[in-house]
Symmetry: C2
């Protein structure tokens, strides 16, 4: 016995090339442009050879997504780094970086947060450690510093995430400018500008505040 030994280094190298090709194709033409045969052509293999490295197309895509999530996490971390912990600016910077990443790497974002797939399990590992944990930490610090409402940091972080994610997904699915047709004032069509326009509403709320000290001084009026 003792047949031919597998070469782990070479296998990893080929695997890396496959993932890289798949990533490029995905970034170029989106999910619809990705096929096993095309990936195989790029790395100079036949389509069936890919099945030696990945169980199936789903496995390959999953791998690309994992890498993209890691890159996403790094992107967010870089954006947060310049801002001091406990500051609202740090939270805002994370939100804006979220939008910028989605704008810059739209094809990735589309795949990362597609609502098409029936099994959201594939996404459950990476975003938490990468992105959401970072946001939750920043939010927790800001709450501890008295800059944000003293609520559950997880809930607060999730809320901030929802706003940024909502802005981006709506911007990708619909044309915002069309929502405002026939209006006098114009809405920002750029997602980042829109997100920034939301800042006052996020900070101070959508309802007219009823400050206690003022409320018992006179009738509620704004």
């Amino acid at each position: 016995m003792s047949p031919r030994q597998p070469d782990p280094d070479r296998a990893l190298e080929v695997e890396r090339q496959i993932v890289e090709a798949a990533r490029d194709i995905l970034a170029e033409g989106g999910m619809g442009g990705l096929s096993m045969r095309l990936v195989a052509d790029r790395v100079g293999l036949s389509a069936t050879a890919l099945y030696n490295y990945f169980e199936n197309k789903d496995g390959l895509v999953r791998r690309v997504i994992e890498d993209a999530f890691r890159q996403f996490g790094g992107y967010l971390a870089d954006a947060a780094a310049p801002h001091p912990r406990g500051s609202l600016d740090r939270v805002q910077a994370l939100g804006e970086a979220y939008i910028r990443f989605a704008t810059e790497y739209t094809a990735y974002f589309r795949v990362l947060f597609s609502i098409q797939q029936d099994d959201p399990r594939t996404l459950e590992d990476i975003p938490d450690e990468g992105g959401f944990g970072l946001l939750q930490e920043a939010v927790g610090d800001a709450i501890a510093a008295g800059k944000m409402q003293p609520v559950d940091p997880g809930l607060m972080a999730l809320y901030c995430w929802c706003v940024a994610h909502g802005v981006m997904t709506i911007a990708l699915a619909c044309r915002i400018d069309h929502c405002a047709e026939g209006r006098e004032t114009t809405l920002p069509t750029d997602p980042l500008e829109l997100f920034r326009a939301f800042r006052p509403l996020m900070r101070d709320g959508i309802a007219v505040p009823v400050p206690i000290a003022v409320a018992d001084r006179e009738g509620v009026e704004v």
Copy 2:
């Protein structure tokens, strides 16, 4: 001459059956389960016959989406009807109906607001008249009634939409409960509950308010 006349009534009836079959298949198995041959089988035609009624698969899907958007608009209108115009409850009811529709008709919602497609133009007509216009109206009334911050109603409506949409798309793409792993408190995993948990944050903002009357009385403390 004088050849055979086309029968518009029958053509419309067949077209209706095709759309209905496509809608059902979409609701059952999502976008991935929809194929021309399957639709054709359901209505007792061959796949190629569908091309007499729709330009291609995209056209058929677009038609189904249009219908779904109309249904969506009606769903929202029904939810808003019981609440008086100008009330915050009406706005909140619209938001909750948004979540409920997405939960109840998930397959529709996935197709309606997919971020996969590269052309968001297809979505641009219906949602405005159906859903967004309604929300914008409710928000405008609430602002006029002094219940909401006096900002551009379009911007305010878009903000509310982003929150609801963010909640739903995140819930569909990731598992919320996994975001909170290893935490002491638990986050609501149900989208509707989560949206309701966000209500205080939406109302009063995420930042600690600094009421003027209180701020100059003592140091800022919460």
